[in-house]
């Protein structure tokens, strides 16, 4: 057994909104090849954590480092969101944020932007290189759509997809940026049990086939317990527990946070 290789290493993260401390001294590590879950009641600060590491919010304090195999570690603090993505972090959004008026395929192609380079001149003259790159983009995107099971929708507008399909499109889109760590914010929200089950398999398959590590926020405990290697639990911006699914599900603090004070009485 080799020692676990960290991919994401966050230490002492603090995020204040005015007087509200949304994240208080949070430490989270994700190792290569792991599926890690981040759970907690509504308003615990889970999405805020994602926003901090992806550069949408600037944290008050703390260090966030990403380790790409074969490259020097990169400090994520103060990087613009697009640079964070270039460095291998890709995400989905809790409230779906697709490009509604673009086709499904185009949604994925947009995410190839940071891995391709043809510019204005290329677009206008459409030389060989541009055409080849365009072709590569289309093929790559199509392959990802096949993977998430959306290949029959390529030319539909994103807004016309059913809800569950939109969530899967978000995943395909994030994958197109070639991440080493995929961040999923409540991917099962609004899905029925059958869809959730398929999602479970999809996530595992993505991890294996694409070689990405996964950090996911989820309220569906069945899903979380079945696919996560490790779990972090947040409540009111505090890390109240961490460990294997089993350890967490037996933790008193966690049960209390979920069931509220009534449990004590």
């Amino acid at each position: 057994m080799t020692a676990p290789q960290p991919v994401l290493d966050v230490r002492g993260l603090i995020m204040d909104f005015g007087g509200l401390r949304a994240l208080d001294n949070i430490n989270i590590q994700v190792n290569s090849g792991e599926i890690v879950a981040l759970i907690g009641p509504n308003g615990a600060g889970k999405t805020t954590f994602f926003n901090c590491i992806t550069g949408l919010y600037e944290p008050t304090m703390g260090d966030m480092i990403i380790h790409t195999p074969g490259k020097a570690p990169v400090r994520l603090n103060r990087l613009k969101p697009n640079v964070v993505t270039e460095n291998g972090l890709a995400r989905t959004f809790q409230n779906i944020r697709l490009f509604q008026k673009m086709t499904v395929l185009e949604n994925v192609m947009v995410a190839r932007h940071c891995r391709t380079k043809s510019g204005i001149a290329g677009a206008i003259f459409r030389g060989r290189k541009t055409r080849r790159e365009e072709q590569e983009m289309v093929e790559h995107s199509y392959r990802l759509l096949e993977k998430v099971g959306l290949d029959s929708y390529v030319n539909e507008l994103a807004q016309e997809l059913p809800y569950g399909a939109q969530r899967r499109l978000e995943i395909a889109r994030a994958l197109a940026t070639e991440p080493i760590l995929l961040l999923l914010d409540e991917p099962a929200a609004g899905m029925n049990p059958k869809e959730t089950h398929e999602l479970d398999q999809l996530i595992t398959r993505i991890k294996e086939e694409e070689g990405v590590s996964i950090l996911l926020i989820e309220h569906d405990m069945k899903l979380v317990m079945s696919i996560s290697d490790r779990i972090y639990v947040l409540d009111y911006g505090q890390m109240i527990a961490q460990g294997t699914p089993r350890e967490v599900s037996e933790n008193r603090n966690v049960i209390k946070a979920y069931l509220g004070e009534a449990f004590d009485a």
Partner: protein
């Protein structure tokens, strides 16, 4: 069948009452301004009672139309009927090469013989319309594709026009030499102005660009040493053609063909851009800025390219404008000009090339040929902007996205 009639009668009378109320309300609203008018000379008041009748009757009927359209819109949001109709035709034209090719050839032939079919005056109007097509296509990059509401677009138009006018006036530089640099200079202005302002949110951006547009106009009006102030610059050379001497009429025909070529070029460039890596980034930015950045797109850079490219086109047309009229002054570059170009884009359909062409031709040609209407031109622009936004925000013709065909094996597919 009494039971069938009663609800219908009730419905009719309730609709009538609604319309009467609306009608009375507008009679009240427009009373002071439409009925009374001051004669400035003797400070007496002219009473125009007939206007009251027009407003009352007009509002009565328009309120029916308004409510009908409103109801249709509400139903339409459930299943998009009008759209699918248009989509089907669009798809048909696209899929059937014969229709599109023969259509293109037909339009091409008509355009080529246009100056011989119509008078010089009409050719000249057509040149103006084509200039607006180009301006609309340029602004379409900024507003329609990238979703940046630029209300100071006319500033870049002015930059192009003044650049050529001044170069011609001081150094005798010709149209063809100036044209690329007019575009280039406008692009530089676009970047210079864009750099600080593009961080702003949508609506603030609109106001700041408006401010910039006005600042540039005011500078042109007051900086006499540079721009010759409100009196402007006259005697600008028309485009040359290998040193030939043209008559005025021949010049018009020549300029017409120049415009046709440039519009064709613009169309190709814009349609290629639209389905390119950069173009998709623009649209993505328009759709969702946050998600766009999270997908690895540099927001500032992408916005700047859109802004600069849009400006380039305004610069080109500015140069052409100066060469066409041979005289320019700041009065040609007011906010109303920006508003007119914007309404072309909005009316035609944001993001749609054909839409913008139709928009420009309708908005420029209609008032020219319906002289009686031309007084009401700006009134109609304003009203149509509101109506389009309320009932058909995608414009007359909505943009269609490129389709891709795949065969079952994913390795050897793709025929865009």
């Amino acid at each position: 069948m009494k039971t069938d009639w009663k609800p219908l009668m009730q419905r009719v009378s309730s609709e009538m009452i609604k319309s009467i109320v609306v009608s009375l309300w507008f009679v009240f609203l427009t009373f002071p301004l439409m009925v009374m008018k001051i004669r400035p000379l003797d400070q007496t008041i002219e009473w125009r009672w007939m206007n009251l009748v027009y407003v009352g009757v007009g509002a009565f009927f328009l309120s029916f139309v308004w409510r009908y359209l409103m109801a249709r819109k509400e139903r339409g949001s459930e299943k998009d009927e009008g759209d699918s109709w248009q989509k089907r035709i669009g798809m048909k034209i696209r899929s059937d090469k014969r229709i599109s090719v023969s259509g293109l050839i037909g339009v091409g032939i008509f355009v080529l013989i246009f100056p011989f079919l119509f008078s010089s005056y009409q050719t000249s109007i057509m040149i103006t319309a084509l200039m607006y097509v180009m301006l609309g296509l340029g602004l379409n990059i900024v507003v329609g594709l990238a979703g940046l509401l630029d209300l100071g677009y006319v500033a870049f138009y002015a930059v192009g026009a003044y650049f050529y006018a001044l170069m011609n006036h001081h150094f005798g530089i010709g149209f063809w030499a100036a044209l690329p640099f007019a575009g280039g200079l406008a692009a530089v202005f676009g970047i210079l102005l864009g750099f600080p302002v593009l961080r702003l949110k949508g609506d603030y951006l609109a106001i700041v660009t408006l401010g910039f547009g006005e600042i540039i106009r005011l500078i042109l009006e007051n900086w006499n040493e540079l721009s010759y102030g409100p009196s402007g610059i006259a005697g600008i050379s028309r485009p040359g053609f290998f040193g030939f001497e043209f008559t005025l009429q021949q010049h018009t025909v020549y300029l017409f063909y120049i415009m046709v070529a440039l519009v064709a070029l613009t169309t190709i460039v814009v349609s290629r851009l639209r389905n390119s890596r950069i173009g998709r980034a623009w649209i993505a930015l328009r759709e969702d800025e946050v998600a766009c950045q999270a997908m690895g797109i540099d927001k500032t850079r992408t916005k700047l390219t859109a802004f600069a490219l849009g400006a380039t086109w305004a610069g080109f047309v500015g140069c052409i404008f100066a060469a066409k009229t041979t005289f320019i002054n700041p009065a040609s570059f007011t906010f109303m000009e920006s508003a007119m170009i914007l309404s072309i884009v909005v009316l035609g359909g944001m993001g749609s090339i054909v839409g913008v062409m139709v928009g420009a031709l309708v908005l420029i040609l209609l008032p020219e040929y319906l002289r009686a209407f031309s007084e009401y031109r700006m009134l109609a622009f304003g009203a149509s902007m509101v109506i389009i936004m309320v009932f058909r925000p995608q414009g007359i013709i909505s943009g269609i996205r490129q389709r891709y065909e795949f065969r079952k094996q994913p390795q050897q597919e793709v025929s865009p």
